[in-house]
Amino acid sequence: MSKPNATAVPTASRDIKTIVNATLKRRHAAERRFRWYGLLAISLGLIFVLLMFGNIIGKGYPAFWQSYIQLPIKFDAAILDPEGNRDPHAIENADYAALVRTGLRALFPNVEGRVELRALYALSSSDAPLELRQQVMAHPTLIGTEQEIWLLASATVDTFVKGNIDRQAEEDHRPIKDNQIGWIDQLQATGKLKQRFNTILFTSGDSREPEQAGIRGALMGSFYTLLVTFLLSFPVGVATAVYLEEFAPKNRWTDLIEVNINNLAAVPSIVFGLLGLAVFINFFGLPRSAPLVGGLVLSLMTLPVIIIAGRAALTSVPPSIREAALGMGASKLQMVGHHVLPLAMPGMLTGSIIGMARALGESAPLLMIGMVAFIVDVPKSFLDPSTVLPVQIYLWSDLPERAFVERTSAAIMVLLAFMILMNGLAIILRKRFERRW
């Protein structure tokens, strides 16, 4: 009988073959399943990334355009320069809002009554008079002339034109009134209301008026903060990695240090913020909200990342290179400086850039040191109060005005662009300069 029996000795080769054949199908199926799992995991990840990008870009791209209204502005000498002597001080303090009001009334001469006029004046941004002042200060010859000038529209007009306010809603339930809609339609029909590229978003600091708010201040704050972070953490990180890897004796102390460095890399960032508050602000008396303190705190956070990446890069340099250098009579410092460090540098730079990208996106530790703040003036130094890009996103997301929703997404897009740039740079560095043995 063919009944298998432990004591029986069938031809061995056929037996193994049947066993293999019996399981082969299952093993192939398992492999196929595993591939499917992998594909599923990747596509799930991609779907989430696409959803996030789609959502943010869909919400944020209108913020790169901004509505402007073309007004006939009469630079009335009686208002701007009543004395007629072109005194810059008098011109600076003239009533430019009156010019804007006259311009709006000239477009809609039939509007009467205080309430109606107020609604009409609300079409233009409170920035319009400042813009006119700037133009007149730069070109005093404008006084006495009449010009067609494109001026910033208010955020409500802008939001409405972009279709983010429901035209069909009851009048009481939308921030824009029926008569205002009529005026906007009229302006659009005559081509006096247009969307232009929103340069303000990139050239000005924060503002409570959505149409005047920009990310320049936050960008400069991020720049100064990251510069401090890099200047501090890169040399210190590299020096630590080189010392620990090449010079330090291997004993309990260096083991302890290593454990601590790995630990630091995993500490939640808010803890560094608390440390920064206690040490840099309360003990050393550095000013709150300064990029210098932000940079110090973030470099504490980035240091372990750079050290760990640096040590990994150093260990990947083969020992034969060290031995050859030493064998040729180089000192240990020469061996490290001339041979090991240059070979490890691309790896170290990659690690640092990734660490810096993380620092760029960090906001929690900055909460403790006062960088979550409304700052209008663009910071000009390491000690000026400033905020950073992720904090600006957080602050804008919490404001009631609807026009800030798209600006929040636009700021996220800018932040993402910088992230992609930095991470891309890290990959290019690794691909081009890293050597494999």
Partner: protein, 347 residues
């Protein structure tokens, strides 16, 4: 050799300390405090920076309590000049301030903030009362039969009040860290349990326990902590028309085409009703200024005057456009006068 290195390190550390301790004098006003007052103070700060010869003040959003901690830490340029608060200063905070030498504090009431209970426009409005809200959200409510406090197991609004629709109780609100939540607890939960007999009994024996029983919000999913961000709650309401949301009035005003405020005790949350004090869930907003800093940091007095001017906090001022509910006119005059004379808190 080793001591040589040590000395070098020590010298470097001292040098660093010396350099960084040379703190520059501050030439801008530093404001900290409540995230509820933040949208208003920033508007004044921007206006002040544009229209005066002073620099634009820096406004930090730290929360009321966190702000007082910084504000009361001492007198000097490294400490903030003004703290925004969505509640009155506590006696304990005045004490801390005094301990650190901050004694002359100017209190300014800037206006009111209404807290609305709102839903999506897609659903029918629900006339609520303070009692309904308390019964729906408290962790323990009196059993209708015995009057004893039992765990809250109500599931629909109809369970609480037969006049209400049979919708599931689902309220999106701020987490305990938020000032809005504090105010909601004080104005709704505390008031709602005033009429509960079992708690009155408890009050006599153990007032602490009674207070806790009033203020504890249920944790079985009927109240959903939706984060500090009010915009998020608005978006969630639009997505889930059956739910109610709790947030500041200015967020409702901006989104009136999507959401509606429920009437509370028969009063709709409108600008006028909150300003008149008819709408029951509203709280006063304040800021506190350090008198010792006036004259040291340029512009503080002028900033206070700008904040309390009719142009800013008046009926038609730019703050009311940002959603601040102005004080009644007589009170406003009083506040402006007190601000001008820099009247300090009575010790």
């Amino acid at each position: 050799m080793r001591s040589h290195q040590l000395a070098l390190v020590a010298a470097a550390t001292f040098a660093l300390t010396g350099v960084v301790c040379a703190q520059s004098a501050r030439d801008y006003i530093s404001v900290v405090g409540s995230s509820t007052v933040y949208p208003f103070t920033t508007a004044v700060a921007e206006q002040f920076g544009k229209s005066s010869r002073f620099k634009t003040p820096k406004v930090e959003s730290t929360g009321t309590g966190g702000g007082f901690k910084l504000f009361c830490a001492g007198v000097g340029v490294q400490h903030p000049d003004i703290n925004d608060a969505s509640r009155k200063i506590k006696p304990s905070e005045i004490e801390t301030c005094a301990k650190n030498g901050v004694t002359d504090i100017v209190e300014i009431n800037i206006g009111f903030d209404g807290i609305v209970v709102a839903s999506s426009k897609k659903t029918k409005p629900m006339p609520l009362t303070i009692k309904d809200l308390y019964m729906a959200l408290a962790k323990e409510i009196p059993d209708p039969a015995t009057g004893k406090l039992v765990a809250n197991t109500t599931e629909t609004w109809q369970d609480i009040n037969p006049k209400l629709p049979p919708n599931r109780i689902e309220v999106l609100g701020p987490p305990p860290t938020s000032g809005t939540r504090d105010a909601f607890v004080e104005l709704v939960m505390d008031k709602g349990c005033e009429s509960v007999d079992a708690i009155k009994e408890l009050e006599k024996t153990d007032s602490k326990k009674a207070k806790a029983a009033c203020q504890t919000i249920r944790e079985d999913g009927a109240y959903i902590e939706a984060g500090e961000n009010d915009n998020l709650i608005v978006q969630k309401l639009v997505a889930n028309p059956k739910a109610l949301g709790i947030f500041g009035y200015s967020f409702m005003e901006e989104n009136l085409d999507k959401i509606q405020g429920e009437t509370i005790d028969g009063v709709t949350p409108t600008f006028e009703n909150i300003a008149d004090g008819k709408y029951p869930i509203s709280r006063p907003l304040f800021f506190y200024a350090k008198k010792a800093h006036i004259g040291v940091i340029p512009g503080i007095k002028e900033f206070i005057v700008e904040y309390t001017s009719e142009k800013a906090m008046g009926d038609e001022g730019y703050l009311s456009q940002k959603g601040l509910i102005p004080l009644p006119q007589a009170k406003r005059k009083q506040v402006a006068a007190d601000a001008n004379s820099l009247k300090t808190l009575a010790p």
